[in-house]
Symmetry: C3
Amino acid sequence: MSLNSIFQYFVPKDKKIFFPLFEQASNNVVVMATSLVDAVNSTNAGTREELYKHIDKLENKGDEITHQIYLELGKNFITPFDREDIHALATAIDDVADNIQGAANRMLLYRIDDLNEHIRKLSELILQASLDLEKAIRELKDIRNVRAIADSCIRINSVENQADYVFDRAVADLFLYETDAIRLIKYKEIYAALETATDRCEDAANVMESILVKNA
Amino acid sequence: MSLNSIFQYFVPKDKKIFFPLFEQASNNVVVMATSLVDAVNSTNAGTREELYKHIDKLENKGDEITHQIYLELGKNFITPFDREDIHALATAIDDVADNIQGAANRMLLYRIDDLNEHIRKLSELILQASLDLEKAIRELKDIRNVRAIADSCIRINSVENQADYVFDRAVADLFLYETDAIRLIKYKEIYAALETATDRCEDAANVMESILVKNA
Amino acid sequence: MSLNSIFQYFVPKDKKIFFPLFEQASNNVVVMATSLVDAVNSTNAGTREELYKHIDKLENKGDEITHQIYLELGKNFITPFDREDIHALATAIDDVADNIQGAANRMLLYRIDDLNEHIRKLSELILQASLDLEKAIRELKDIRNVRAIADSCIRINSVENQADYVFDRAVADLFLYETDAIRLIKYKEIYAALETATDRCEDAANVMESILVKNA
């Protein structure tokens, strides 16, 4: 029996603090991913630029939510899950947001006008993974929803595998067909940021799986 | 006296679960490193491709072992060492495997036919560090083998220093002699993945040293 | 009440071990950052080379201090702050040193003679953040200095934001004006190492903020 388990008989686990913050953080990532998909499917450079700047603002908002979770973690001795899991989950969600913003910022900075199929596919996969992340986090309030949470985590893992595959093909294409080294560098960085966003979704899913195992 | 120390009088530390998993994980890395050395020393492109694909399959196997360690860590309140050390050791070994696979995958993807001296030397160093890693982990079952474990860790640190030196020279060579920027990018990434594999061996050695200190 | 709080009534928190080590580590970073600023403001290639090599030696010294902190952490059950915070703070300071050395080493290796305004500005920001880091750590001995520590952390965050801005402009400039892909790669790596040094200062500041919250 863990210390957490011992203490739960004395002090009610304060779910009221952490769950709303996690829901805000994951919902913010969904809005960012939706803006990204909209941007890379838009043919209007002005619209894309607006969306990239919107993503940048949302990332700042996400930073504040993450900071709030860390602060609460410092203040609350009793947490609904292991402190290290709360910290790791908050960090993983923050890293998803960072990488979405990183990709958007590079597309803006490098003045990328040729949004190709690889970029669109990777953005779509990020949105899928973000939606499952949001869903799993909503279910996490009631740990009895094991099946639903586990299913979301499995789907996130599958999306991450697809993103790996798309990334490898995209990079192979670059090295086969792109003769301009500077363009190659730009695209490679954008692909990498997009693919890393799905990696961080998988990190979040792994933390949630570990929470399920501990609280089974 | 740590909580771990208090509990060890009541519950036998379950070494039967974690040690075989760590041995499997480190043995898997040795097989991967051996395949890598074979590949970069082969003059036959078909043989190299087969070995790269074999490394890819072994990396998946390693992922499953790591996942198993994480699952057991979730289930077992009593662990032979601090939970954070078990987690860090499993992660470090997994990262060695990831970087060996990453280097192999890039050599396959970028169709690298010119396996130079730097690549062969770095691969050889990865194999050396992996063998010492496997040795140290086998000794870890009996913490009285302090001397043998510490010696392996010292050798891993020395190999990592050598790899740093080879990497710096390899990159300096690239920037001095390679005029094709795209080739430069390809080789630089391969060198970096190889060098990082030895860094992660050092991370594993650092965790083992910290286990020795705590259990001295 | 945390375990730490319970135990502090029985065993005096041993500040004598950790604080001098943290002060040495942060002071070492200040000396490294000062040498970096001197180097990138020098017009003499020989002077620069000497300073880069000096930075390399200081980084080794920093490694030893970090190793010492980890060793003490293994030995001491009672620590002045949460063990994870001591570990995270030591790692963040070590990472600042690594990135200063990484930037210096690349400038040496790539034979960079054209030290531009972006490099000088980023180096200056690293020195500013290092000085605040050293200040905050000196204050940390007496947790009642909350205001002074918090102020240093806020200034470090502000420096990191400025460094982000300089980095983004520097990279945008590269992609706009640099037509030699290999030169572009060299400068981009140097900018990235410099910017990452300020990120790691921010990591250290975040750990200190979290220590303040827990001990408020």
